[in-house]
């Protein structure tokens, strides 16, 4: 199960890197969103995947899922949500002001 998830993480990361490297701002933002999903899956699989158990800590429990990665991912999801919201608004404002969504045109020149 872990190997499957890791392959999925690899595929997502590949897709994300392809998007991040494009020149269109919206594609870059979508790329960063997928990038964060990939790493969340990575954290989840690092805690070990066990089927059909719950994160319950009892003295007699035979098996339980490590709850910490889930807590970590929850925090990371909230943060990436906030950052994605921010950069979307930023990209919109930048498009309004600069009149372009092409990163190549945002290099900046000396005459400013």
């Amino acid at each position: 199960m872990e190997s499957l998830i890791i392959i999925l993480v690899g595929v997502l990361t590949t897709v994300a890197i392809y998007l991040v490297l494009s020149k269109n701002v919206v594609r870059v933002i979508l790329g960063t969103a997928i990038l964060s999903h990939a790493v969340h899956l990575l954290i989840l699989s690092m805690g070990g995947l066990k089927l059909g158990t719950v994160p319950l800590l009892g003295e007699e429990a035979e098996s339980y899922v490590d709850a910490l990665p889930q807590a970590l991912i929850l925090t990371a999801i909230v943060i990436s949500f906030a950052v994605t919201a921010f950069i979307l608004v930023l990209a919109y404002r930048a498009y309004q002001e600069l009149g372009t969504d092409n990163l190549g045109a945002m290099r900046g020149s000396d005459d400013e």
């Binding site: 991040v20 701002v25 870059v28 960063t32 990038l35 964060s36 790493v39 969340h40 990575l42 954290i43 690092m46 805690g47 910490l68 990665p69 970590l72 925090t75 990371a76 943060i79 906030a82 950052v83 921010f86 950069i87 930023l90 990209a91 404002r93 930048a94 002001e97 600069l98 990163l103 945002m106 900046g108 400013e112």
Partner: protein, 495 residues
């Protein structure tokens, strides 16, 4: 529980920041409240520093969850020295904002955002948990995104997109490193990680993870991976760039010091050599940048990069003297960089241009500004008795003792480049023919120079009062060099 006070340097700015959001239209009231909050934070950290010197490291387990199970704050002398300095510098920058900032900026949530930034910075210094470090980094970064875009000029928006994107990618690397570390050692409490790494030995896998951490923190600190820095530090308003120059890169440098002295110190021939090489290249790149530009804000931004290279040269050498020197330099650089950016910003406001060619003979009209800049220049170049001297001497001495002659040469030559780049500004902008007559000159608003003078006094004060600072820095260096002290303070009761 006296150690509950430990949460205040992070909690106080957050609470006050939230309150200030509701006082949006009252710019001056916001300014005074935030000033008071940061001054109180500075007072608290001063008390903490004193308490640590007397009783050793203080820790606070949130919710009573004992380490390694809960999140905790750990205050050792190194962290608290930095909290103290950053709180003082933030207070002074806020007072500059109170005096000089335009009305629009004052009512656009500027002060709450600065307080959130301070909370993130202080939290990053104090936390004892790697994931919590990530969260505090994000608090700081989100505030910095907002601060960078406040003002809404085209250039700011353009630079903000680059800055935000690069930081999202570096945060992604941080999470990757955390995931692999958790998968390998099964804990994220710094002291616990350090203990486990020491037990199993730093295997090649752990060394690789440490290099991912190195990449993350280097991106944040501007160590070698500084390509994003000059643009984003030279576009926002004066106060914001002063805060960025003083605080943001320092948090990355702090994280490097913490991680590579507490956890990954078993393979110095790989990690510390790599840091040394990166520091050397940073010194070269920063020096070239500092003399290559005519825009005085870019020159100031490249000076930040040189300082980062210099501090990490101290970490690469990692002898007691080098670490002590780096800590002195850390404190000095926060004060001096804030001062440099405030002065440069004031010069730009007065002359209406950031190009050296557009300024000349400012000395005649604004002598106090000129001499403040002169002292800043000497302090950054490391001329005694100012604050930059002791750090440079200690690191240079340690480099000689450990035989790192290449780093020594680069560190000393970069100091000459710092001096030259600032001397160029001083000569072109302050000397020369005064192109603006006495009648035409923009009046320097009364009080604008007061925060700058406070920082000038601070840099002179640190230089002259080094004896008073020495015992605290010695304790901080001792803790950094002996991870056992930190680990015992965190896990002592359980083991």
């Amino acid at each position: 529980m006296m150690n509950n006070i430990l949460v205040l340097p992070m909690l106080l700015p957050i609470i006050i920041g939230v309150v200030l959001i509701f006082l949006r239209t009252y710019g001056r009231i916001q300014a005074w409240i935030s000033l008071t909050a940061m001054a109180v934070t500075a007072g608290i950290s001063f008390y903490l520093l004193y308490a640590i010197q007397a009783d050793g490291i203080i820790r606070l387990d949130f919710g009573g969850w004992e380490p390694p199970f809960g999140i905790l704050f750990v205050a050792d002398s190194f962290a608290v020295l930095l909290v103290l300095t950053s709180s003082i510098v933030t207070t002074i920058c806020l007072s500059y904002a109170l005096i000089s900032t335009s009305k629009e900026l004052q009512t656009m949530y500027f002060y709450p955002t600065v307080l959130f930034l301070a909370a993130g910075v202080n939290g990053s210094f104090l936390t004892g948990d790697l994931f919590n470090l990530f969260v505090c980094f994000e608090v700081m970064l989100l505030s910095s995104y907002v601060l960078l875009t406040l003002g809404n000029s085209k250039r700011q928006l353009r630079e903000a997109i680059k800055y935000v994107s690069i930081n999202i990618v570096s945060s992604w690397f941080f999470l990757v490193a955390l995931a692999f570390l958790y998968g390998t050692v099964g804990t994220l409490n710094m002291a616990h990680v350090a203990e486990r790494v020491a037990e199993v030995g730093q295997t090649p896998l752990l060394t690789t993870i440490s290099i991912v951490f190195l990449v993350v923190f280097s991106l944040k600190a501007g160590l070698l991976l500084y390509f994003w820095l000059p643009g984003s530090y030279s576009s926002p308003p004066v106060v914001t760039s002063a805060l960025f120059g003083a605080l943001l890169t320092k948090v990355g440098v702090y994280a490097l010091f913490r991680v590579f002295s507490l956890i990954f110190y078993h393979q110095p021939e790989i990690t510390h050599t790599l840091i040394g090489v990166m520091a050397g290249l940073t010194l070269i790149g920063g020096s070239l940048g500092a003399i290559a530009f005519n825009d005085i804000r870019s020159i100031a931004a490249y000076n930040v990069i040189i300082a980062v290279g210099f501090m990490l040269a101290g970490l690469a050498i990692s002898t007691p003297a080098a670490i002590e020197g780096a800590i002195y330099y850390f404190i000095h650089d926060m004060v001096a960089k804030a001062l440099l950016f405030l002065l440069v910003g004031t010069m730009i406001t007065l002359s209406g241009t950031s190009k050296m060619a557009g300024m000349s003979g400012l000395m005649k009209n604004y002598p106090l500004l000129g001499w403040s800049f002169f002292i800043t220049m000497l302090s950054l170049a490391g001329i005694p008795p100012l604050s930059g001297f002791i750090g440079k001497v200690l690191i240079a001495g340690a480099a000689i003792d450990s035989g790192s002659y290449l780093l020594l040469a680069l560190a000393l030559i970069s100091s000459i480049f710092v001096l030259y780049s600032l001397l160029r500004i001083f000569k072109n902008c302050f000397w020369g023919e005064t192109i603006v007559s006495k009648e035409e000159q923009l009046p320097l608003r009364r009080g604008v120079l007061l925060p700058c003078l406070a920082l000038v006094l601070l840099t002179i004060g640190i230089g002259l009062g080094i004896e008073g600072l020495a015992p605290y820095v010695a304790t901080a260096a001792e803790t950094l060099l002996d991870p056992g002290i930190y680990i015992d303070a965190v896990l002592g009761i359980i083991e």
